[in-house]
Subunit: 692 residues, 2 copies
């Protein structure tokens, strides 16, 4: 930490004060020490980037020589490297770049640099952008797309390029190496010459940072764009059309990464329209991509309106197809069985497939977790999923190991995160949402990384020495009064969000009219498909609350390996966190705490509200250590979150109270809204951003 302290003092002396809009992310300008970079490697764009980053951010001894050495090394995966205090050695130029960033990160965060081998957990570390051709972003809360124009023009301006470069640099700095440039609810337009031309321009800017471009495609593109009569994956004309289209793509973008497909899902066309399987569809595309080394990422997010338990369906559809996919297909599975809820148990598909490559899909953009208002650090949620044991091959078969090839070999491995990036000056709308972009990248690189370390790294790189006012005298002061409490805030923020929105395994009880922001346990318009309405999920009635997925209910528990199935099946052993996910229990069910289920529910909602208030106080205390602009912006967001947490609490408790017929305990803060007003939206906070 002495070096860190040293840089504090240097900065205080040398940098002027300036407004701080958060655009620099965790890559803030530093007064770098002079460094000499000696490379034993062929010149390349990636190497040039590595040199540039070292020159820009070196914090080590002034005048030091850093050596970058390229040579074959069996201990290293393609993007891996050997790190030393002043050296990086790798088998690829990309490895040198990641090594350079690792060296700089350790310097800036005060972590020791020893001699060690560093390999990524996954081969492909991808952002999925849900950006539409018209520049809108589905579930985006940070402005329009950085890739596609609102006016649908295709002019590439210097400003575009600068933004894409800054984006690529941020990705590379945390180890991300791919971007799917458009929404999974894909427009066929993305494969038109104009859009491919712009995708090529983007790829050209991203390439020197090791970030490859991917596209999401609509399965019916041969019909919609190609004018064919069918999109049947076994139809020769269709196969030919895709081959031609893939060839065209690679002509523009030789290192194109591959295709992402949402098919036969939520109204999207797919192979099932022609009586074919997911495997038939994915394999047809995989065959077209194979000559170029391209990948198909085939989403497992499928469910039909008629099924009695949506949570079971992905497993039921994909499990029988195990072994039927080409080896350049990866099935992309959301972390939980439903849809990015504040808390879900891991998807049983992670433990189900042995002969099929599987990749986790996380959602960085906070669709169900406060959008760009609430401060929710998602790293702990992803860590919880990655560390969950599937017991697929006995104890220790964590989701992390089931997806990175450790349990069953995979030809390709990958992790995807739905991006939260937009045109807002600070990229992500809420300044702290940058931490989720950062954390996703770090976990995709190393799926064993503890969230505490990620939080520590991000805070140090993002806020150290940002205060515009009187500056803390010592790093110890900063560590004690800023770093420690704000780290704690980050690490508890997701549990707080669970508490004030969907505790004890409740899920999918958000408002649909407010684009999944805010509570809506009552929402069930006549004629709406039941599995899109909260009552389908909470099942509250006079007898109790929760979704019965036990062996005598929907039997979703049976999709988990033992001992999980038995553990989840028994309310006495099922963790509180998943209780109402797996069980419909009476309101007076006695919890492990000794409280009744109703009282426990009340206590959780109340705790959530108080946790947010405590976050506010932590942040208020942090004021001396933060620039005025970001301090005020985050303070404002926390205030809105605090009010919205109360809306959640009041809405859910008053709604469920209609069934429980029990008083809200006196230890719980009384509601400050009436249910009627909440339902008629009279007091809904309007700060919530629309989905688009």
């Amino acid at each position: 930490m002495k070096k860190l302290l040293f840089s504090f003092c240097l900065l205080g002396a040398s940098l002027g004060l300036r407004a701080e809009d958060g655009h620099q992310l965790w890559l803030r300008p530093h007064p770098a020490a002079p460094v000499k970079v000696v490379a034993t490697a062929k010149n390349s764009a990636l190497l040039a980037t590595a040199r540039q980053e070292l020159a820009r951010g070196w914090q080590g001894p002034a005048g030091a020589t850093v050596t970058l050495t390229l040579r074959p090394d069996k201990a290293l995966k393609p993007d891996g490297f050997r790190l030393g205090p002043t050296s990086v050695q790798a088998a690829t130029a990309a490895g040198l770049l990641y090594g350079a960033f690792e060296l700089l990160r350790r310097q800036q965060t005060g972590q020791p640099v020893t001699t060690e081998v560093v390999n990524p957990s996954y081969e492909r570390r991808l952002l999925n952008h849900w950006d539409n051709p018209d520049g809108s972003v589905e579930r985006g809360y940070a402005g329009h797309s950085i890739f596609w124009r609102k006016d649908s023009s295709f002019v590439v301006t210097p400003r575009d390029k600068a933004l894409w470069q800054a984006y690529a640099r941020a990705n590379a700095s945390v180890g991300l190496n791919g971007s799917v440039l458009n929404n999974v609810n894909a427009s066929p337009l993305i494969l038109s010459a104009e859009y491919l031309g712009r995708a090529r321009a983007i790829a050209d800017v991203l390439r020197p940072y090791g970030v490859r471009v991917y596209l999401a495609v609509k399965f019916s593109s041969p019909v919609l764009l190609g004018g064919l009569k069918t999109a049947d994956p076994l139809d020769p004309a269709v196969i030919k059309w895709w081959r031609g289209k893939v060839q065209e793509v690679y002509r523009q973008i030789p290192d194109f990464g591959g295709l992402l497909v949402k098919a036969s899902s939520e109204g999207q066309p797919g192979p099932q329209d022609y009586g074919r399987t997911h495997a038939d569809g994915a394999n047809m595309l995989a065959d077209a991509l194979r000559p170029y080394g391209g990948l198909v990422m085939w989403r497992a997010f499928v469910y039909s309106p008629s099924d009695k338990d949506r949570a079971k369906q992905a497993y039921n559809e994909f499990k029988p197809l195990d072994g039927k996919f080409r080896d350049n297909v990866i099935v992309q599975v959301k972390n939980g069985p439903i849809d990015f809820q504040p808390r879900e148990p891991f998807s049983p598909l992670f433990g189900a497939l042995k002969k099929t490559s599987v990749m986790p899909e996380f959602q960085i953009t906070q669709e169900y977790l406060g959008q760009a208002i609430d401060l929710v650090f998602l790293s702990t949620m992803w860590e919880e999923c990655l560390r969950s044991d599937t017991y697929q091959a006995g104890p220790g078969s964590t989701v992390a190991r089931c997806t990175d090839g450790s349990v069953y070999p995979q030809k390709h491995t990958a992790m995807a995160g739905v991006s939260n990036v937009g045109l807002d000056p600070n990229w992500t709308g809420q300044d702290f949402a940058q931490a989720n972009w950062y954390a996703f990248g770090r976990l995709a690189w190393n799926n064993q990384l503890p969230s505490a370390q990620i939080a520590d790294e991000w805070l140090k790189q993002t806020f150290a020495n940002s205060a515009a006012g009187p500056r803390p005298a010592t790093a110890a002061d900063w560590n004690t009064n800023f770093l420690a409490p704000v780290t704690q805030l980050l690490l508890t923020s997701r549990e707080a969000a669970v508490n004030y929105s969907m505790p004890l395994g409740l899920h999918h009880i958000m408002s649909a009219t407010h684009a999944h922001y805010g509570p809506g346990p009552w929402w069930a318009p006549p004629g709406m498909r039941p599995d899109w309405t909260p009552p389908y999920y909470h099942q509250a009635d006079a007898s109790g609350v929760g979704f019965d997925r036990t062996t005598t209910g929907s039997n979703a528990v049976s999709q988990y390996h033992e001992p999980l199935a038995a553990q989840f099946n028994n309310p006495a052993t099922c963790p509180d966190e998943y209780l109402l996910w797996f069980h419909h229990l009476p309101w007076d069910f006695k919890m492990k705490s000794g409280r009744s289920l109703w009282d426990e529910l009340c206590a959780h909602y109340d705790l959530g509200v108080h946790q947010v208030r405590q976050f506010q106080q932590v942040w208020d205390q942090a004021q001396p250590y933060v620039d005025a602009e970001r301090f005020a912006a985050v303070q404002d967001k926390l205030r809105t979150q605090s009010g919205n947490a109360v809306v959640w609490k009041d809405a859910c408790l008053l709604y469920f109270q209609q069934f429980s017929h029990r008083p809200i305990p006196a230890t719980v803060e009384p509601p400050m809204h009436t249910l009627e007003a909440l339902i008629t939206n009279d007091v809904q906070h309007k700060d919530a951003g629309p989905a688009n």
Copy 2:
């Protein structure tokens, strides 16, 4: 209390359970014991009413004989009476009626009945209805007018009559004996034949309950209705017109009470338009009324936009006119110098006039105190005013004694309250607002009555035995678990409202766009007359906050007699309650508590929020003792109040923080709204009723 307990049991056995909409007010149906009423008095409508009420509500020994005796008695004022356990003696039939109600009230509330003389504090005990000819009610939050129709028709239906009768009975039961039927911002239409006809019909229904009818008139009526060229009070044609009109009124309503006038005030026409004084105007009307015994109530609510301190103006305009008014004129003075704020010091006019009759005007409708949402018992506020010592004739010259003729003799005495009654089933919108109607009547009858007794009376008559569920076994249980905590709630409710809205002497910082509900310290549209905007009143800037009314400021303090003037003038001796009313003080001013002014302000707002939450808990605990309908209605109102209290706190603290540049102390709950959102009204609660 044994009798009360006895009646509990009787009721439990005899009454069925029914929905409870609050329409019965504090006059709930009881299983009356048989009683024989023997009257030594000429038959009259008032006597018949007294007999009927005794038969309806007698709770004494079954078969008892009650004697009503009419005979002259020098110890008794016109409406006074001598009470005995089974007897009422009075000099007027009205006295017998009030005595009968007193007997019944004591029985129902368990107060002992001894032999005693009971006289009212004021001769005229009036409700002022701000009801417009189109049936709207200015500052009314309980629906349309009970007197005037929305469709401006004049048909008198049996339902009208039943409602007016129930209204008159409620008034009589608490001693009110007059109603001004229309708004002080009067339409000339009220003096048209059609409206006078309807006023007569109303008077006919009110008469048997001793309630006389009054009207508010527009000073320019001779021009607007009579077609004259002037309304100059010294113009013979004008004098003649008013004489004719008054005669016409008395032909319709022989016991008509008199006229209420808002003149030369807030754009209303008045004598000053013709270079005449308030006295000239009032006396002209008084002369017209004199032959019939009618009264003029002339409002002192006057202020001009150009003056530097609105608080001083009523005093400045009326003090020089002392002694210039006829003896059937009473100057009607609002309790405070500004306008019915949550807390004001008493109007110095109460201590200023020696040869002029003065009457207090209170506002029962909660314009600035939560309208029909917030539960605020105003009795303590009125008690505070009535008990304030003006020192007009040395110590003990309270506002009560300065207005009831005790300090200087007055030919007539009166007290007026702006009504909160409308067509809502429960009359007043919020069930607990009935308590303010009740309390006003009781204080107009006896201006020494403690609020604690009024609260006790009202609760016992309004809620005892109302529970629909399992009934408390004993009166002691009810007293301990309902009466005691809810009385406490009532008695602290106004201080809570002051705390969360305008503590420490702040005033007039409410929202104008929301019709005086909710906070608006920032409200000051360009071009708006300054004395209608909050910044005129709070004067917040970097140097501090508050209105300087000291001798070096506007010198409003000098309108108070010593020792008050000196006490108010010195921030060290000025009570905290009035501190920012009289002083502009720095944010770090050291308060009596030892806290800085800023911290003290924060603490008051925070306390207010927590007080409302505590009221919610008190009410929740009261559930077993209250019928389901009123329980739920009040619970809902309290919830909304609770949220709105937070809006007040957040808005005011965040607004003033812009000037104080000080942190909100960590002991205070952090804001849950952003100032921006509050200002743009994004999170304003819409439950607030409009003024009309």
